[in-house]
């Protein structure tokens, strides 16, 4: 298939077309990268390669509007695409540019900024990371202290950002910085686009509990950034960042992965050698989790339905985030229990997509322990479960 071939619009035929493309485009190594993914991100190089393949097919950013290189698919089709990619074990590229920055650029960017940045994002050529949190500013993001001071036509940035996923691979960072200290915290924040190659930037990676490096701290010391790289108006950064929530709505489909995890648990339960096969107490817990996942799936569909009708799901996306991540943790727990001792080997080299040797862990449990360990981060990043509950309390219950 080439980039210009039209796609069928009815959903079964659409699914088949996506499936055909995936079976043709996914190399064994890319699939292995997908299979051995233990967090939000797959192996970096595999993810980047996959993004480039998707881009060549015209599917680099299915959620974007057509004019910027999107697909023009409806919500149902985008859901099917995501589902098929997961089922086929496609790797997950670094998505901060496509999912987060792209929509903000389209909404707030100047024509020049859009032209300059969007093509590199969708092709995967430019990898972006997100500079929001700081050592002293986590859930209380508006208290951030990294400053950007005027100096001629430039800003001079000083400070530090933390939990910056994939900063060590990134070409660019989008940052919230303080441009006015005299006003209330939210009103003095601006949104800056910064080239990671600029002198004065250093990146310190953290080794996570799973032994891998995804998180970094980024230091800025007198970093000179052209004023052209300001996204939106000066001191409107909070508005720009908040609008992201609106772009994200309906974009999260936790149940695709949850259902995949549950099928794996059920597959394991049906093997005689599995520690939990025939354990009724385990079967009850799996069934209750399954029912919760069904409830979440129907909720996601209900939200999707209301989006189609033009309503704003608003804080319902917080509900989905809390339930989706907590259920993911629950599935990860069931998986380590099903795997039992067979998941104790700790060999990070086997997670590399190029690895094709034997593993000390049972083959179906190679990623299980790392996935469980990494699952603890899901209720912390992207707004903690506590922050999501506060959003629900404030915006849905009016407390």
């Amino acid at each position: 298939m080439n980039a210009s071939s039209p796609l069928p619009t009815d959903s079964d035929a659409f699914r088949t077309a996506v499936r055909d493309f995936l079976s043709e485009a996914l190399t064994p190594e890319l699939i292995r990268a997908g299979e051995r993914t233990t967090s939000v991100f797959s192996d970096f190089e595999a993810g980047r390669q996959w993004q480039s393949i998707l881009h060549q097919r015209g599917w680099g950013a299915p959620d974007w509007p057509l004019e910027y290189g999107g697909t023009g698919w409806d919500i149902q089709q985008r859901y099917i695409f995501q589902e098929e990619c997961r089922q086929a074990n496609a790797p997950t590229p670094v998505m901060m540019g496509i999912q987060m920055l792209g929509p903000m650029l389209m909404h707030f960017g100047t024509p020049n900024q859009k032209e300059r940045f969007l093509p590199g994002i969708i092709s995967g050529e430019n990898v972006w990371c997100q500079g929001y949190s700081e050592p002293g500013s986590g859930s209380d993001l508006a208290s951030l202290k990294t400053t950007a001071d005027h100096d001629g036509d430039d800003f001079i940035v000083n400070g530090t950002k933390i939990w910056t996923s994939m900063a060590h691979y990134s070409d660019w960072i989008f940052c919230l910085v303080r441009t006015d200290k005299a006003v209330k915290p939210q009103a003095g924040i601006s949104f800056l686009l910064v080239d990671m190659a600029t002198p004065g930037i250093t990146v310190k990676p953290f080794t996570s509990l799973d032994g891998e490096i995804e998180q970094c701290q980024v230091f800025f010391e007198d970093v000179r950034v052209p004023a052209d790289n300001l996204l939106g108006q000066e001191n409107q950064g909070w508005t720009v960042a908040k609008s992201l929530l609106e772009f994200e709505r309906g974009g999260q489909h936790f149940t695709i992965d949850l259902k995949k995890q549950l099928s794996k648990i059920q597959r394991m339960m049906s093997t005689e050698t599995c520690r939990v096969s025939g354990d009724p107490t385990f079967a009850y817990r799996v069934a209750e989790t399954q029912i919760d996942v069904m409830a979440l799936e129907q909720t996601e569909l209900r939200i999707k339905g209301s989006l189609t009708a033009g309503d704003n799901p608003g804080a319902l996306s917080s509900l989905v985030k809390v339930s989706g991540t907590e259920l993911g943790q629950c599935c990860a727990e069931l998986l380590i229990e099903a795997a039992g001792q067979s998941a104790i080997p700790w060999q990070s080299e086997v997670l590399a997509p190029s690895y094709s040797g034997s593993t000390a862990a049972a083959s179906e449990s190679v990623t299980t322990m790392a996935e469980y360990i990494n699952s603890r981060a899901t209720t912390i990043y992207g707004g903690t479960a506590e922050i999501q509950r506060s959003i629900i309390a404030k915006h849905v219950l009016g407390l």
Binding site: Q266, A287, Q290, I291, Q298, R302, S390, V396, L399
Partner: protein
């Protein structure tokens, strides 16, 4: 919701709001009034009793999705009339019988309130009764006990599940029939239950269904009851949450509203999350049944399991977040708690539903596996 569903909701909501008075409900319970004919007549006039039936029987041909709207509102307004009890039996058992053409119009007019009598003092009786329907020299005879019949005190008739030489049977018995001794009693949710001893002759036209048809009706009845009890539980849980939110905004301690405390806010957020998740499953279970989806059985059981757990949790939390006031009979929130507790075990318990879910799921996995092998 569709426009029709919204209209139905609005009309029913308005009627129940105007005709529900919490103190009057307490008086009625204190006086052990289990039937309010004028209310039931109003239900009939609004078409509620006609909802599940085909147009050929002068019904409105609505699906469970619409009936669930009424059930939800019954939960919200703590309706004591046996609406879901009567509709569940009529739409699954009476409708399947040869006598439907006579019986259904009486249901629709409000004259016939048939309540299912399925529980007996022995375990497993709901599916395999020890109550017997047997042939004697002088004709059919129904013998046995049915206990703890929810809303049994409001019935005009009982649809009795019995065992016969031909397998299961559903038998319709008038509450005032000779040979039926019926003891009624108040139940903790403000309704009236009944314990019945049957030892009476039965005519052919009282035998609604037997054999496979009776078994089929039993599973349809159970599925319908699971879904409607889930919907009513949902309505009660939502009302308990709403009451709690309102109360914590007003009640002040330490110089500020309870609602300003984060520890309480997050608990109320959890109540909302769980109630909304339940809502999705309840509506999907209705849709699955209405479209006769292959997954309808799983969805009904999922809704039952989820709503039972969430109804319990949310109403318990509602009491805790209110404090002492919620432990009194004169405050409404404890009555939601009591009603969802009654619904937990009505017709099918959470545990039974969960076991059946597992069995259905195993079947689904097996058939998916065999399909993928071929």
């Amino acid at each position: 919701m569709t426009e029709e569903q919204t209209m139905l909701w609005d009309t029913a909501d308005r009627y129940l709001r105007d005709h529900t008075d919490f103190n009057q409900r307490r008086d009625q319970i204190a006086e052990a009034i289990y039937n309010q004919p004028e209310k039931w007549q109003a239900f009939a006039e609004m078409g509620w009793l006609a909802m599940p039936f085909p147009e050929s029987l002068d019904g409105l041909n609505f699906g469970l999705r619409e009936i669930a709207i009424l059930a939800e509102l019954c939960g919200q307004y703590l309706v004591t009339e046996p609406l879901i009890d009567a509709l569940a039996v009529a739409s699954t058992v009476l409708i399947r019988s040869e006598q439907a053409a006579t019986l259904v119009p009486e249901v629709i007019s409000g004259d016939l309130i048939a309540i299912a009598a399925i529980d007996e003092p022995t375990a497993g009786s709901r599916l395999s009764p020890s109550c017997t329907l047997s042939q004697t020299d002088s004709g059919w005879r129904l013998q046995g006990k049915k206990y703890w019949i929810s809303a049994g005190a409001s019935a005009t008739h009982f649809a009795v599940l019995a065992d016969s030489s031909n397998g299961l049977a559903w038998v319709l018995v008038a509450k005032n029939a000779a040979g039926l001794s019926c003891e009624t009693f108040p139940t903790h949710d403000g309704k009236g239950g009944a314990n019945c001893h049957f030892d009476l002759p039965v005519s052919d036209d009282q035998i609604l269904l037997s054999g496979d048809a009776a078994a089929e009706a039993l599973s349809a009845f159970r599925e319908c009851a699971m879904i409607l009890s889930s919907a009513e539980t949902l309505g009660a849980a939502q009302a308990a949450l709403d009451t709690t939110v309102d109360y914590t905004k007003q009640r002040e301690q330490f110089g500020q509203p309870l609602a300003s405390f984060q520890a309480l806010q997050h608990r109320m957020a959890n109540m909302l999350i769980q109630t909304e998740l339940t809502r999705s499953l309840v509506y999907s279970a209705c849709d699955a049944a209405d479209h006769d989806s292959p997954d309808r059985g799983r969805f009904a059981r999922a809704a039952k399991v989820k709503s039972a757990a969430v109804g319990r949790k949310v109403t318990q939390e509602a009491i805790q977040l209110h404090g002492g006031i919620a432990t009194t009979d004169e405050y409404i929130v404890g009555h939601f708690f009591k009603r969802v507790t009654a619904l937990e075990t009505w017709v099918c318990s959470k545990g039974e539903a969960l076991q059946e879910f597992i069995a259905l799921d195993a079947k689904k996995v097996a058939s998916a596996n065999s399909a993928s092998r071929h």
